[in-house]
C-alpha cells in the first residue's frame, strides 16, 4: 500500500464498511469541528487545563480577536491622517468602497482571477493525479517532481515568473514574438494578468495533486474492479465511477483553492506589480493592503477587510455545512 493512503480512514483497511465510508470523503477533509467530549475517560482537574490552554488563548486574544474587533470598529470611522482622533461615519466607508468604480473593477478582476486559477489548478492537479495513480514505472519519480513546487514561496514563484516574462530575457515573450505578438508584462493589463494567473496556477497544482492522488488511492480496489467490469471505456469509467468518489476531495479543494486565489496570491501580485499598482491587474486583498498602508485610508481599508472577512466566512460555512450534505454518492 502506498504511503499516500490515509492510515485511519482508508476504506481499503475496512473492506466491510464501504457503504459507510461513502458518506465520508476519502481523505476526510475538514469535517466540521464538533465540541463533543472526545474521550470516555478524562482527567478531572479544575486548574490544569487552563494552564495548558493559556499560551494559545493569550496569543489568540491578542493577535486574533483584538485586531479582528478593531477591523470591524474602525470600518465605521474615518481616521484623521495626522492622528487627531476619528469620526464616526456609520456605513459610509462601506458605501464608498462598494460604490467606487475602481473597487468594482478590482472585484471583477478578482472574481475572474479566482475562477481561472481555481479551475486550471484543480484541473491540472486532477489530471496529473489520475495519470500518476495509473502508471507503475517511474511512479515515485513523477510524484516527487510534481510535489516539489509545493514548497516554493509565492514571492519566489512571482520572481521566477517575472524572469520568464521579462521584456529582454523572457522565453515566453520570445515565444509570443514568434506568433507576431508583442507581449508586455507589467505594461499591458491582460499580458500581466495572464502571467499572474499562470504563475498562481503553477504554484497551486502540487497541492491539488497531493490531495487528489491521496483521494484516488483511498478508493478500494473492489470498487475499481467493479467499475472495470461495468464500463469498458476508460473515460466513461472515470466519469461515472471514479469522479463521484473524488467529489468530497474536490469540493474540499474547491474552497481551499478559492481561498488561495483570494489571499495567498498576494505575494505573486505584489512582486509582479513592483509597487506600481497604477495600471496593473490587482486583487481585493492587494487593495486592502494598498489603501491601508500606502493610501493611509484606515477606515476604508478596514471596511474592505470586513467585506473580505464576510466572503471567507461564507465560504467556510459552505464548506462546513452545505457541501458535506449536498455531495451524494448515488
Amino acid at each position: 500500500m502506498s504511503d499516500l493512503t490515509h492510515p485511519v480512514t482508508s476504506p481499503a483497511a475496512r473492506p466491510g464498511r464501504i457503504r459507510r465510508w461513502f458518506t465520508r470523503p476519502a481523505t476526510a477533509p475538514s469535517p466540521a469541528p464538533s465540541p463533543a467530549p472526545a474521550k470516555r475517560v478524562q482527567f478531572d482537574a479544575p486548574l490544569l487545563p487552563w494552564i495548558f490552554l493559556a499560551p494559545q488563548l493569550v496569543v489568540i486574544f491578542v493577535f486574533f480577536y483584538w485586531p479582528s474587533v478593531q477591523a470591524v470598529t474602525s470600518s465605521f470611522y474615518i481616521e484623521d491622517p495626522f492622528g487627531f482622533g476619528a469620526t464616526f461615519v456609520g456605513i459610509d466607508n462601506y458605501r464608498d468602497a462598494l460604490g467606487s468604480r475602481e473597487y468594482q473593477r478590482i472585484a471583477g478582476f478578482t472574481a475572474l482571477f479566482t475562477v481561472l486559477v481555481t479551475a486550471f489548478s484543480l484541473g491540472l492537479g486532477l489530471l496529473f493525479a489520475v495519470k500518476a495513480d495509473k502508471v507503475i514505472r517511474g511512479r515515485s519519480a513523477y510524484r516527487t517532481a510534481l510535489i516539489a513546487v509545493y514548497a516554493i514561496a509565492p514571492p519566489v514563484a512571482g520572481l521566477m515568473g517575472m524572469m520568464l516574462f521579462d521584456q529582454h530575457i523572457g522565453p515566453f515573450v520570445t515565444l509570443a514574438g514568434w506568433f507576431g505578438y508583442e507581449m508586455k508584462v507589467g505594461i499591458n493589463y491582460w499580458d500581466t494578468a495572464s502571467a499572474m494567473i499562470l504563475i498562481s496556477v503553477w504554484k497551486q497544482v502540487p497541492y491539488n495533486f497531493i490531495f487528489f492522488l491521496s483521494g484516488l488511492q483511498g478508493i478500494p480496489a473492489s470498487v475499481r474492479e467493479a467499475a472495470v467490469i461495468d464500463c469498458r471505456g476508460g473515460f466513461t469509467r472515470f466519469r461515472t465511477a471514479i469522479l463521484p468518489l473524488l467529489a468530497p476531495t474536490a469540493f474540499f479543494l474547491l474552497i481551499i483553492n478559492i481561498t488561495y486565489a483570494l489571499f495567498d496570491t498576494f505575494a505573486v501580485i505584489d512582486v509582479m506589480v513592483k509597487d506600481k499598482p497604477a495600471n496593473n491587474p490587482l486583487t481585493l486583498v492587494y487593495k486592502v493592503y494598498n489603501d491601508g498602508f500606502r493610501g493611509n485610508d484606515i477606515g476604508g481599508s478596514a471596511a474592505q477587510s470586513v467585506i473580505l472577512m464576510v466572503i471567507v466566512l461564507v465560504l467556510t460555512l459552505i464548506q462546513f455545512r452545505w457541501l458535506e450534505r449536498r455531495v451524494h454518492y448515488g
Binding site: 475517560v41 516554493i152 514561496a153 519566489v156 503553477w202 498576494f266 505584489d270 491601508g292 478596514a302 467556510t316
Partner: protein, 280 residues
C-alpha cells in the same frame, strides 16, 4: 488492471516539465553573469560564474544601511521557519491536550473560541494586526515576527484529531497505574505523537519560511529582513538600472527555494501524511 498507455506517460512527462523546468532554469541561470544573461537570455547549460555570484549574494553588505547580507537574511528565514514550527507545535499540542483529555467548565466555549480562528486568514486583518503590534512595541523583533502567526488553530485542530484517534484504553491503563496528567503526557502521549509532530513540523517550517506579507510589514530594520523580504528589495533596486542583476536575483530565489524544497522532497512521506490528515 489498467493497461499502461504511453499517453499517460506523455502527460506526466509534460507535467513534470511544466512544474520543474522553471526551477531548473532558475538554478542554472544563476550560474551565469548578469551581462551574459542580458545578452543570451535564460539558459539550460551551466555557466562559470556561480561561485562568485553566490558569494556576492551571501556576503556582500547591501541595503540602505549597508548592514544586511544574504547570510543575515538566510538566518532570519531560518529563525522564522524554526521558531514558528516549534512554537506552533508546543502551543497547539498543549491546547489540544487540554481540550481532549480534561473535563472542565467552559470547555465547549473555549473550543469555539479557538476554532473560530480557522475562519479568518491573517491577510484580511492585516492592517489592525499591524496597529496592535505597533502599539505593543513589537515591530522589528523576532517576537513580533513569529508570535502573531501562531494565532490560528490549524495545529490545534490537527493534534486534537490525532489525540482523539488514540485509544481510550491507554488513558485508563495509565490511570490504573497511577499516572497523573503530566506523566501521561510525557511518557505516553508525546512518544506516541512523534511521527505526527514531525509531519506538522515540516508543514509549519515551510509555511513560516515562506511568509511574505507579515515579515514585510513587521520589519523595517534591515537586520530583521528575511529572504522573502530580500526578493522584494532586489526587484525594487532594478527599476532604472541598465543591466539588472538577473544573476543575483536568481541566486536569491534559489537560496529562498532550496531549503523548503529539500525538506519537502526528503520528508515527502511524513509531509504528505501530515497534510492530508490535518488539512488546514
Amino acid at each position: 488492471m489498467n493497461r499502461i498507455h504511453p499517453f499517460d506517460h506523455l502527460i506526466l512527462i509534460l507535467g513534470t516539465l511544466f512544474m520543474c523546468v522553471p526551477v531548473l532554469v532558475a538554478i542554472i541561470t544563476s550560474t551565469h553573469s548578469a551581462v551574459d544573461i542580458h545578452m543570451n537570455g535564460l539558459s539550460l547549460i551551466p555557466g562559470s560564474h556561480g561561485a562568485e555570484t553566490y558569494e556576492a549574494v551571501l556576503t556582500r553588505k547591501g541595503g540602505f544601511t549597508g548592514q544586511v547580507t544574504g547570510i543575515t537574511m538566510l538566518m532570519n528565514s531560518l529563525i522564522l521557519g524554526l521558531g514558528f514550527a516549534v512554537g506552533k507545535i508546543v502551543l497547539s499540542m498543549a491546547a489540544a491536550y487540554a481540550l481532549v483529555y480534561f473535563r472542565f467548565r467552559f470547555a465547549t466555549f473555549l473550543f469555539w473560541i479557538i476554532f473560530t480562528t480557522l475562519l479568518l486568514p491573517l491577510e484580511v486583518r492585516i492592517m489592525p494586526s499591524y496597529q496592535v503590534m505597533s502599539s505593543l512595541g513589537l515591530l522589528n523583533s523576532y517576537t513580533g515576527l513569529i508570535v502573531p502567526l501562531l494565532a490560528s488553530a490549524t495545529g490545534t485542530f490537527y493534534f486534537r484529531q490525532f489525540f482523539k484517534s488514540v485509544p481510550d484504553e491507554l488513558l485508563e491503563a495509565a490511570r490504573i497505574d497511577g499516572a497523573g496528567p503530566w506523566k501521561f503526557l510525557w511518557d505516553v502521549l508525546i512518544p506516541l505523537s512523534k511521527t505526527m509532530m514531525a509531519a506538522i513540523f515540516i508543514i509549519m517550517f515551510v509555511y513560516g519560511w515562506n511568509q511574505y506579507l507579515w515579515p514585510m510589514l513587521m520589519t523595517t530594520e534591515e537586520r530583521f529582513f528575511t529572504l522573502m523580504r530580500g526578493i522584494k528589495q532586489i526587484l525594487q533596486v532594478w527599476i532604472g538600472s541598465q543591466i539588472p542583476d538577473y544573476n543575483e536575483a536568481f541566486a536569491l530565489a534559489v537560496l529562498a527555494l532550496l531549503p523548503p524544497v529539500i525538506v519537502v522532497v526528503v520528508f515527502q512521506r511524513w509531509f504528505i501524511r501530515g497534510l492530508t490528515e490535518s488539512d488546514k
